[in-house]
């Protein structure tokens, strides 16, 4: 068990005033408290981008890695010690551009991870280039004629890849986001929480007001998160109405349950004893 105060660090926060990341950080802290976790039981893994500073601001174990590699590192940590609660954090560029090659695999493996994507639909830390979730036609420093490509749909990607928990939150709806994060932490399996995160410095389109006008909660419209087809249909909804909430949730065997010797307990807690003389017999 930990308290909100304990989850803060002395590091100076350098996010822009009003950044959606503040809301996400607060919700993550609250969710850790609400889930009843001790600080040392949690590992935060962050990539490169504004979100990546979170490991400096969240007082749990942390591994700030390189661009796009949150999922492999988080997977390795979880497989080595599944007693730890491992939460990966990535930006939309980190997760769906450079790190996209890992995303469907983490989902289909169903390693017990939480993956929080700070989705601001722009490259913030590098001062405003186009992102894979930027809207088609969006004008940025690197898309002066408007972005040509269609945008990545994180939730649909997660669903077709076999993710067992797929949700979307909004940094401007902290109470709702906190509830999603608690559910994701408690979920057994790979949990994606895509978080709409306004970037106040470089994204003048997808602002707090933009999302407030459009977002609605699936839970209030009787969505059944057990229905994969309906979840996919909802994942495709974007524009005048943007759904928030748990799109899909199911229980499936975990990756580690396919590794018989992990049933004895976490890998790093198992004593390594090997009779090499016996192993050598195979080669005589």
């Amino acid at each position: 068990m930990t308290t909100l105060a304990e989850l803060g660090t002395p590091a100076t926060n350098t996010w822009c005033p009003g950044c959606g990341n503040f809301g996400i950080l607060l919700c993550v802290k609250q969710a850790i408290v609400e889930a009843g976790l001790a600080q040392e039981e949690v590992v935060a893994v962050t990539g490169i981008g504004c979100h990546g500073k979170l490991t400096d601001y969240l007082n749990v174990n942390g591994f700030h890695v390189i661009h796009g590699r949150v999922l492999p590192v988080a997977t390795g940590i979880k497989l080595a010690n599944h007693d730890l609660t491992v939460i990966g954090f990535a930006g939309d560029g980190d997760a769906f551009n450079i790190g996209m090659g890992h995303f469907p695999h983490a989902a289909r493996r169903n390693v017990d991870l939480v993956y929080v994507v700070h989705n601001n639909m722009i490259y913030g830390l590098t001062t405003g280039q186009v992102s894979p979730t930027s809207a088609q036609g969006m004008v940025t420093k690197t898309s002066p004629r408007g972005e040509w490509s269609r945008s990545i749909n994180p939730l649909a990607q997660a669903l077709v890849s076999g993710a067992t928990f797929v949700a979307r939150g909004f940094a401007g709806e902290p109470r709702h986001l906190r509830s999603l994060l608690v559910q994701a932490i408690k979920h057994r399996g790979f949990a994606l929480v895509d978080v709409l995160q306004p970037c106040v410095s470089f994204n003048r389109v997808n602002t707090y007001d933009y999302f407030r006008e459009r977002c609605y909660k699936l839970g209030e419209e009787g969505h059944d998160p057990g229905d994969w087809n309906k979840a996919l249909a909802k994942a495709m909804e974007w524009g005048q109405r943007i759904p928030l909430g748990v799109f899909f949730k199911e229980e499936k065997p975990l990756f580690r349950e396919g590794i018989p010797h992990l049933k004895r307990g976490p890998l790093v807690k198992q004593k390594v004893e090997r009779a090499m003389e016996d192993v050598f017999q195979e080669f005589t």
Binding site: P72, T75, I259, Q270, V272
Partner: protein, 577 residues
Amino acid sequence: MTKSCRGLIDDTITIGIGGEAGQGVTRSGSLLGRAFTRSGLYAFGNIDYPSLIRGGHNYYTLRVAARKVRGFNDRYDLLLALNKETIGLHMAEMAPKGGLVYDSSLEVDEDSMVGLQLFPIPMGEIIKTIGGPSIMQNIVGLGAITCLLGGDLAVLESTIADEFRGRQRVVEMNIEATRQGWEAVREHENSFECHADMGERAKRLWLTGNEAVALGCLAAGCNFFAAYPMTPASPVLHWLASHDEASGMVVVQPESEIAAVGMALGASYAGAKAMTATSGGGFSLMVESLSLAAMTETPIVIMLAQRPGPSTGMATYSAQGDALFAIAAGHGEFPRVVLAPGDVEECYSFTVEAFNLAERFQIPVILLTDKTVVESHETAESLDPHPDSIYERLDEWEGGEYQRYQLTESGVSPMVVPGTKNALVLANSNEHTERGFTTTDPKLVTSMADKRFRKSPYIDEAVEKLQPVKVYGSAKAEITLVGWGSTKGPALESMHQLEEKGHSARFIQVRALEPFPSQIGELLEGAWVLVETNRTGLLGRLIKLYAGKTPAKTVLKYDGRPLTPLEIEAGALEVAP
């Protein structure tokens, strides 16, 4: 009792086995090598194969002697041809009076085989009577070879029985096939002038470098291995995957080499002893994470099994083209170790040492091998079943606030596993404070870089204990050969040959490329010969850089095939006094 072995040319017997992919060429060679090993002889085997699954030409070379043997001279005493192509390709490499064993249905132009002894055997018909699949022809051939060498059929049979253990019908058919092969050439048993004494049993091992690396992982206490398939490193992954439950190791094949090294780093951070293995292309993809390992001081072992490049090159052949890549890969400056084993014993012991160095100094360690080292079979004396294996993680912390990057005199900070009470472990790819928080403070970043490099003298000292320069042969030799990795085998054979011819020779093996053992300069006073399987003499460049010495002669081969002792000898004789 001393064993005896007599070939047509010297005290070794070289056997070639050739056929299409899918005809069991590698298995035949390996079986025969194991049988010789069990008989107290020494064998060395290497497979030459293209990157395909069916068809093509696969060729296994096996050399046998009563002494440790390494490397080949392409002068075959015996050739087992499983198809006609093999005969055409390798006829010219036969020693005078060499024996050719082949299926009698192959239309062989006997007139062109002057000076050879022909042993046509109805292999196909034998297999038909036994009721086995045609792939079993190779086994008939093994029976014949064993007979021609005056060998021991019982040893071959027990080797085959162990190979197919648990499949009784297969064992029976294969043993019947060896017996019929033996019978088919029995009348020539005493007329063929090679002899391999297979009487006495010995407790040695017959294994490849890849298998030795896998065994080294086990002995080192490695419990996490993630790798993406890439020739010639994949067999480590295969072996460990098939032994994961017995060894308690988590073995993962992820989506890419980037994921493999990332998972290994995550596991290591969490307290596992972690490794990955690949070849040059895969290592290229891992380079960014190599730098991550260095900055976060996360121990990791990476095997880089070289094959010819650039790019895809020749997937199933060998080269030593990545020496400078291995020592310099990764952005930024950081300490690392690059070890270069030259045979199966070193593959085993250096894997263990790689883990120890990675663990002790919290650095990346690269095990730099090549196709010839990792895919050749070799008879190994014995491997140490209880090597020292270091594990230095802490799971208790009582010393005030835990700082992952605490500045220490040795540069090594206490490493706590996440999950430990009173300690939060923050690893950071950004330059960081002692606690692990990101910083750009000029004083702090200088002290962190200094901290990482304070490990260097201790790393140097530890590597020095591994004999990074090893000298074989007489100290005052006329001829000095210098090489690394897989050139060790042919260079030692060449040294042996030169001594037989009345020259004194020595071989200097460089076994660590980083930190580089500059003391090698003191040994290179006279003319010396650089022996490498690459185009530009990369070890030579390092010797020039660190020791200021240049070779009088270079023997460089870069066609993907191993150097032969004769090629080295020819180069050496050019500068011999």
